[in-house]
Assembly symmetry: C2
Homo-oligomer: 276 residues x 2
């Protein structure tokens, strides 16, 4: 993360604290070690630790006394549930994830777009014993990187997708070197098919499939996805999986439409500074 000094505006440690919080989110249920957080945050060890203590004292983080790993605290859950009134999609989508996992036997996910990132909100495992553990709740990837992010990218208006690719080519190439040359083709494929397919591009042998969820206003903010080992996502099973995805996506879309009495505000998180 490392700080661009320009973005510190008298709130350095506030920003640092909040970024740490986000890193804890990415660490998910397992948690993260102090060393890992130091590395990822670019902070010094004492600073990192001090901020973690503050997070812990406020209930926003916890440290496992035996493993010493840090993870999100209950306070964050409580706040998140309050925020869910506004941003929530889980109420209409979580049980679809569960059903997908049950019916397919593989891992199913709910992912949402958040600016240029795609965040995995929920993962549910099926019963099949060979499982891909490449994606878990809290993981974040750039649009396009993985089946879910690919579905979301492909569902964007073409102009928007183009400009995203142009703007983020560098970042994509850095984080996912193998991906960039393939992306335009994958996006086209996904558009034609109606769902995306990731044939082990990011992690060999880990395949994925995803379909975007369109909100009542037409915007795309989330997707359902599946992940499995290569052998479980061959052409023979593809239509079956796609049909299951399609059915659940349709269900979620209906539920979204029904409850959109008060239309969800979906404004971008970027802020324009008030100028003098």
């Amino acid at each position: 993360m490392d700080f661009d000094p320009a973005e510190a505006f008298g709130a350095q440690s506030a920003i640092r604290t909040l970024r740490l919080l986000r890193l804890l989110g990415e660490a998910g249920t397992e948690g993260a070690s102090l060393a890992a957080l130091v590395r990822q945050s670019g902070l010094s060890k004492p600073t990192c630790r001090r901020l973690l203590i503050a997070l812990i004292e406020e209930g926003m983080a916890v440290q496992d006394p035996t493993t010493r790993l840090y993870s999100l605290g209950r306070e964050i859950y409580l706040l998140g549930m309050v925020a869910a009134d506004r941003y929530g999609i889980h109420r209409v989508a979580l049980d679809s994830v569960t059903r997908l996992a049950q019916k397919t036997g593989d891992a199913a996910f709910l992912q949402v777009r958040h600016g240029e990132e795609v965040v995995c909100l929920a993962r549910e495992d099926g019963t099949f014993p060979l499982r891909s553990h490449v994606l878990k709740a809290g993981d974040r990837h750039l649009l396009g990187a993985g089946a879910g992010p690919l579905a979301l990218l492909a569902a964007l208006p073409e102009a928007e997708a183009e400009s995203y690719l142009a703007t983020h080519a560098r970042a994509l190439a850095e984080r996912y070197p193998a991906l960039v040359p393939l992306l335009p083709g994958l996006v086209r494929e996904a558009r034609e098919r109606g769902y995306s397919l990731n044939r082990g591009i990011l992690f060999p042998g880990s395949w994925g499939m995803a379909m975007a969820i369109r909100g009542p206003s037409g915007g795309v903010e989330a997707c359902l996805s599946l992940a499995a080992v290569e052998s479980r996502m061959q052409p023979d099973r593809e239509p079956e999986l796609a049909a299951l995805l399609a059915a659940e996506v349709q269900l979620v879309e209906q539920r979204l439409a029904r409850e959109s009495g008060p239309p969800t505000p979906l404004t971008s998180p970027t802020r324009t500074r008030n100028l003098p």
Copy 2:
């Protein structure tokens, strides 16, 4: 809130930022004005504003451009969903809230205990036109203050409840003056009946009823509750409402038991400093 300087340990502004975040949580969906946040936090206006900007830049808060009110941002929702893997009760309890609201026609709530506080996680309104708006998602009250908090207090082991009352008498008296003398009686009543009843003690005319949810390990962490205008909670309707509550509580408890393959860690959020 105001700061006990002793608790600042080189993380003043981190703590301040996180407390602000919590205040935003309490403000719920409506949001809070800068002035309100300044008042509640005890911070100076510039400091408050600066920290809010930091929160906004990190996506953890948003400001409505027309009303200028601040509220929780989408990032908090995302983090909360990740934390839900660990602390979540909503997956097994939210639809009970919905059903209660539908069947009773009144407002139904899910509240959880968090240390000495009880946080309202969700509110769902029924169709009856006279509604109590005394409680909304994000609101926090001390154990004992209101139907839900009362049910949770009454469900505690007797010794624990006693010691809580002893320790927090002052705080209770300060925030809820009318309540304290009545509390012991109310708690006893609730224990005998199996559910709590608040006959407009905190807000005249706003009545409430609640029943605690017991986890598989026997601990009590949450409750379902109902609120209505006085006339809708008279003895004639009481058994009916209590039965509905009991049915949903039982359902939630069953679901909790079923999914407790990996038993939910429910450790307290307080931290013991590592001593040299």
